[in-house]
């Protein structure tokens, strides 16, 4: 490989350049082959300790990381925020310094506070991988999304990708936006005006507030989960109205190109942002995203561990 990797942390996509993103994707292709074998295990992280520290609960991301770590032969410990000493009033910094003192090599963390990973990475020597920090970033989700698109189209350059839904509160949208921009895609962010701020235009993406504009001409559309609590907070009137104006269903899907990919980071609110027929239809790559996620996380763990 012509480019070397020297980062012990994966904090945000914004910190990476296009060549580094491509390196992760290339490495993930190799690990994807491993995952498709009968024996799905390689010894590259043997003797390394990975701590999955999920201060904010997660099911699918944690499972994906855990399986990725097992397939790389790492030793694994799982801690959740509610059972850690955080619940007793210990600071985050003290908790991670204790984890470090146990000679952990890598901390995979999910946290509700934006920037929590950047904060701890400054203070500890172990690698820090961001498994989601509030609405700020979810870099491995973005990497698995661009991996999935690249696998179908060969390259992201010049593709039109639309991210649709609650952009304001979405770490997936932000990390995807940076990854797509760095790889040369044209990005559209779409959603109700209350949930899709115009300020994003300042970094060179298109912002629109109607679904049709986001669907026409798109090579891939990424639907985001709409959370019911946003309705209570007054961002939109009802999930029914949301699905009527922003949901992808048989009716709105007619604006999609035949070859366009339908993506979703999960978990899906069926028939709210995405109708069952489309989620299970021929354009959907949602379950491939899940499979690819593991390969991408194996690549990230492998590369960052190599920089320790």
């Amino acid at each position: 490989m012509s480019i070397s990797w020297d980062k012990k942390d994966l904090l945000e996509i914004y910190d990476l350049d296009a060549a580094e993103i491509e390196l992760i994707l290339d490495t993930a292709e190799e690990f994807k082959k491993v995952c498709e074998r009968n024996v799905k295990k390689v010894p590259v992280l043997r003797g390394r300790t990975v701590v999955n520290f999920f201060v904010e609960p997660s099911t699918r991301t944690r499972m994906s990381f855990e399986l990725a770590e097992q397939r790389l032969s790492a030793d694994i410990i799982n801690i959740s925020g509610s059972v850690s000493s955080l619940a007793k009033g210990e600071t985050l910094l003290d908790t991670v310094k204790n984890i470090e003192a146990l000679q952990a090599d890598i901390i995979v963390m999910r946290h509700s506070a934006p920037g929590a990973h950047m904060f701890i990475a400054k203070h500890i020597k172990c690698g820090v991988i961001n498994a989601g920090d509030g609405a700020h970033g979810h870099p491995t989700q973005a990497l698995l999304d661009v991996f999935t698109i690249r696998e179908k189209f060969g390259s992201l350059k010049g593709l039109n990708v639309s991210i649709i839904g609650d952009i304001l509160h979405s770490r997936v949208a932000r990390s995807n936006m940076w990854a797509l921009l760095k790889l040369g895609a044209n990005v559209t962010l779409a959603g109700p005006a209350t949930l899709c701020p115009k300020e994003f235009e300042e970094v060179g993406v298109r912002v629109c507030h109607n679904l049709k504009d986001a669907l026409i001409g798109a090579d891939a559309v990424n639907l985001l989960r709409i959370q019911h609590e946003r309705q209570a907070a007054g961002f939109f009137p009802s999930t029914n109205e949301y699905s009527q104006f922003f949901g992808l269903n048989r009716d709105s899907a007619r604006f999609l190109k035949p070859g366009a990919l339908v993506m979703h980071p999960g978990p899906i609110n069926r028939d709210v942002e995405l109708s069952a027929a489309i989620a299970d239809g021929p354009q959907s790559v949602i379950l491939e995203q899940v499979s690819n996620g593991m390969a991408v996380r194996m690549a990230v763990l492998f590369l960052t561990a190599g920089a320790l």
Binding site: T91, A113, M118, F119, G134, A135, G137, E199
Partner: protein, 428 residues
């Protein structure tokens, strides 16, 4: 620095905006009072050539944390930091624990200040009981206890009916009302300015409108009762504009700007350093420019620090969980000399006025001038010294500053309260 009872400060440029003086001249001090040089007897002479001598600076917005949070600051440490920053007097904000909603807390602060304060400590009472915004505080008793103003700083009375009664009542006791202007439903759980950077960083925003709605309310009440309402730490372009228009119509509103809103913007938050977290938040570059223009054209008559100490433990956490606020007493003058004076935005006289005439007018104090007969409260400035700020040299108990490692031009040289040098960078 040891001085005789009579001394003369010589060789310095004397800047006294209250009297329109800006010239090299000598200043005499006798027994704690500024006097004509001819009235000093066998005075010691202290040469301050190349320096600026100004009336004692007053910081009307300081959190001393005593009583209640003496791990972060005390009256002794906070006022020493004030002295080192060139301030001869400060107004202690009332959000202590317990807060200053009764005469007892005011008396405690006054007693402690008499024992341990390095500079003059003026007290400020709460507008509402427990600053909870529900019932009016005992404003008359607070006046009797000696407060110079009222504020619920850190909070803002949301009930407009209560606020209008407070303004009317405060006027009858001749106490200016100072307000932390913030509409709480709009601020909600925001942690930084709502704008490009909050959107990109995925952080909950505090919209400019949260400040502006209350500024407008206060302008209406100030006009209604013809009484002084002072807008604390204003931060947005529209706030400046509303206050500009109101003052042009003769409404008795005033406003203060903080050094951090003069020097910094929300873009600084992209590394999630909690030393950039304060309330009101750092705003956009356009807002910063508007605040500077407000200072330049006289809309904003006061610079105040909002010195808000927090322990390292409290601040060294996730950005979401960190308390709002930074220390500022020792960096105010360096920031303002660098950003406003050396950049050519304000003359030395205009800059000095923001720390002297502006605060003294608002509070009705007789200080803020070097006129003979005044108490010898004097700030001496070295306008040209270039240095890099090291927070570890701070006299404050806390270390929460975004200016550690920043290069500045100009700083306080010495501080005189009541004729006594309470701070001096001279070694003799």
């Amino acid at each position: 620095m040891k001085t005789r009872n009579h001394y003369v400060l010589t060789g310095a440029r004397v800047v006294d905006p209250a009297r329109g003086i800006d010239e090299i001249m000598d200043i005499g001090v006798a027994n704690g009072i500024i006097v004509d040089v001819s009235e000093t007897k066998n005075p010691g002479k202290i040469d301050f050539s190349g320096k600026v001598i100004a009336p004692g600076f007053i910081d009307i917005h300081v959190h001393l944390r005593q009583p209640g949070n003496t791990g972060a600051e005390t009256i002794a440490t906070g006022t020493m930091a004030a002295a080192a920053g060139g301030f001869t007097a400060i107004v202690a904000m009332p959000n202590t624990t317990p807060c200053c909603d009764t005469a007892g807390t005011i008396e405690l602060i006054k007693r402690e200040s008499e024992r341990n304060a390095k500079v003059r400590v003026y007290t400020c009472g709460c507008l509402s009981k427990d600053s909870a915004g529900v019932e009016m505080a005992g404003i008359g008793s607070l006046k009797n206890a000696g407060v110079v103003a009222l504020s619920d700083d850190g909070r803002c009375i949301q009930n407009h009916e209560l606020m209008r009664h407070v303004v009317a009542y405060a006027k009858s006791f001749n106490l200016p009302v100072m307000d932390h202007c913030e509409e709480e439903s709009l601020k909600s759980d925001g942690v930084m300015h709502e704008g490009k950077w909050s959107v990109l960083l995925g952080m909950r925003g505090i919209p400019s409108a949260a400040e502006e709605l209350i500024i407008q309310r206060n302008i209406i009440f100030s006009r209604m009762f013809d009484w002084k309402i002072h807008m604390q730490h204003i931060s947005t372009r529209e706030s400046v504009e509303m206050i500009r228009r109101a003052r042009a119509r003769g409404v008795r509103v005033t406003a203060e700007a903080t050094p951090h809103h003069i020097a910094l913007t929300d873009e600084n938050i992209k590394k999630f350093d909690t030393n950039y977290k304060m309330n009101p938040p750092l705003r956009s570059e356009a807002d910063r420019q508007a605040v500077i223009e407000g200072l330049r054209d006289g809309t904003i008559t006061i610079i105040a620090t909002d010195h808000a100490p927090h322990t390292v433990t409290a601040k060294e956490v996730e950005f979401d969980y960190a308390p709002f606020g930074i220390i500022g007493l020792e960096t105010a003058l360096p920031v303002c000399l660098t950003e406003l004076y050396h950049s050519g935005i304000l003359s030395m006289s205009e800059l000095v006025s923001k720390f002297t005439v502006g605060p003294a007018d608002l509070l009705g104090l007789k200080t803020g001038t070097l006129e003979p007969g005044s108490s010898a409260d004097i700030t001496i400035i070295d306008p040209d010294e270039e240095f890099t700020y090291d927070v570890n040299t701070s006299f404050s108990k806390s270390r929460n500053t975004p200016f550690h490692g920043t290069k500045f031009k100009g700083r306080a040289e010495a501080t005189i309260v009541n004729g006594n040098f309470v701070y001096s960078r001279r070694t003799e």
